[in-house]
Amino acid sequence: MDLATFLVQCLNALQYGLLLFLVASGLTLIFGIMGVINLAHGSFYMIGAYMAFALAPFVAQAVGGGFFATLLVGLVLAVALGYVLEWGFFSFLYEREHLQQVLMTYGLILVFEELRSILVGDDVHGVQPPAWLAGSVPLGDLMTYPVYRLFVSAVCIALAAGMYFVLTRTRLGMMIRAGATNREMVQSLGIDIQFLYRVVFAAGVALAVFAGMIAAPISSVYPGMGNQVLIVCFVVVVIGGIGSVRGALFAALLIGLVDTFGKVVFPQAAGVLVYVMMALILLWKPDGLFRAG
């Protein structure tokens, strides 16, 4: 592997890892704070990707179009979706057993997949990145790298920095961190846990939807894309330690590296490498690398 190929693979690994982080950070917070194993989280990613595809014509008609206008509309819809879902489906489940939540969110996956099939159909679609991001930059003498992938990495880094700021420097972030460490204590200190749950859930949904929307031009849009992401994100969450955003970032980048280079170096065993790594890490540290609290 020459230097240019190595560099390209590094950039791919970084971009994949950061995208995983966006989805997994919401999952780990929802799990850590609300104690809900949300299997439908992958569906939010899928919904995001399909929104990037299906909303674009409507947005184009209403405000003259543009990828970013679509992103914005999608984000607003995502927050609304998260709020309504928490209110309608999750709020009555907190006192139930974990496995009841698993069953309900499994039901939601089926419903979302079929609604997607009814509304948009089962075809694979491509999404065009905005024109000014469509080019490539030269890397070395022979290779080029698509600008849009760099853009995705940059956006993810900006969002990660934003999350870091909110979580460590604001009052809301303090409540969220406290909630991930000790839920009962936070509640007994008089913090409105219902409100906190709704904020966290809506933010988690918005992150996953956003990740799906910006990933759409890279990965294309296809049925079943949510389930694939879901399993990898659970791997990220448990490697990082439940409830730990820092752990999720570390684990997502690690998985990005292992998966990307695994496909180049051991193409035969690429699919299983991630699982081997997770098993080894959990046997070494049964609570993940950075467990909150």
Binding site: R96, L103, E114, G271, L282
Partner: protein, 335 residues
């Protein structure tokens, strides 16, 4: 015996008789369908032993099932029948050994971490059959000649006949159910219930809980492998999807839907899941929407979670409670 236990016993007997008489009224399709569901019911029972009785949520049960099924096909020569009396034990043994290995390692972790480690080991087994020459890839392998059930050259049972095989599977289901029911009443079973309720306390009481959990895990893998043997003989075909996490997930859905903590829940759940799927796929009933059968299934599952906290098997108890007019259950009683 309480009123509930008595009606439960009667219901069980009625169900067994109904299954035994079913082929008299059903056609070829029905017999084939119920045979398949009963194989899944055995598999679901193996998972119920772990999830419902011991409190260990395993997300890799399909691996043991698939290993049992693949062993049968891989060890059968192409043109002659092999005796089931050594084929089945060897297949179950392989599944058991893998369960012992997975259990020994993954029981170091707990909760969601345990769920994910069992998934990881199942995925590793999946890739062995999917990506190495051993499993011959995605297309799977056919079993051309079904194993023979012979004693001294005399064929006792012809597994190639669907009706005969139906009763073999029904017998296997009844045996598995009875075995687990007896096991759970034994000292071992009570210890598992103790581990589920409060593991710390069991340890304080002097039980080596790790050994008990490992024994349950291994036994569960053996039963899953046994179900795999039946599946391979029934369809005469195996492919890597038998080990995929989709099946492990569906199994969890079955037993939760049926109701955890009761053995009959696993069987009811397997039937309910497959029959619901069939109903929503029924074209005359749903027309163009039959294509979107997952929508109906998903909405039904959500409604059941909302209305039946104890699953389908908890329905009679729920009705009894309402009729007696006791105060509604509190959330704590659910935990």
């Amino acid at each position: 015996m309480s009123a509930g236990a008595k009606t439960g016993g009667v219901a069980l007997a009625v169900a067994a008789v109904a299954l035994a008489l079913f082929p008299l009224v059903a056609g070829k399709f029905g017999v084939d369908l119920v045979t398949k569901i009963m194989v899944f019911a055995i598999l679901a029972l193996s998972l119920e032993l772990l999830v419902g009785q011991t409190g260990l949520v395993c997300f890799g049960q399909a691996a043991f099932f698939g290993i049992g099924a693949y062993t049968v096909v891989l060890l059968s020569p192409q043109y002659e029948a092999v005796s089931i009396f050594w084929l089945a034990p060897v297949a179950v043994l392989f599944a058991t050994l893998y369960a012992l290995f997975v259990g020994a390692l993954s029981l170091r972790t707990r909760g969601i971490y345990f769920i994910m480690v069992t998934l990881a080991f199942a995925q590793m087994a999946y890739y062995v059959f999917h990506d190495t020459p051993l499993g011959r890839g995605t297309d799977g392998i056919y079993l051309y000649v079904k194993p023979a059930v012979e004693v001294a050259g005399l064929t006792l049972v012809d597994l190639d006949k669907p009706l005969t095989f139906y009763y073999v599977v029904l017998g296997a289901l009844a045996l598995t159910f009875a075995f687990l029911a007896v096991l759970l009443r034994s000292r071992f079973g009570r210890a598992l219930a103790g581990v589920k309720a409060n593991e710390q306390r069991m340890r304080a009481a002097g039980y080596s809980t790790y050994a008990y959990k490992l024994a349950a895990f291994t036994l569960s893998g053996a039963i899953a492998g046994f179900a795999g043997v039946l599946f391979a003989v029934k369809d005469g075909f195996v492919n890597p999807e038998l080990l995929a996490w989709h099946l492990s997930g569906s199994l969890l859905v079955m037993i939760i839907l049926g109701g955890l903590g009761r053995l009959q829940g696993a069987v009811i759940g397997a039937f309910a899941y497959e029959l619901l799927r069939l109903i929503f796929q029924h074209e005359p009933l749903f027309g163009a929407f039959a294509k979107h059968w997952q929508l109906g299934l998903g909405l039904t599952i959500i409604a059941m979670v909302a209305l039946l906290p104890e699953g389908l098997a908890g329905l009679p108890a729920e009705i009894r409670r309402r009729r007696v007019g006791r105060a509604p259950r509190t959330a704590d009683a659910d935990a």
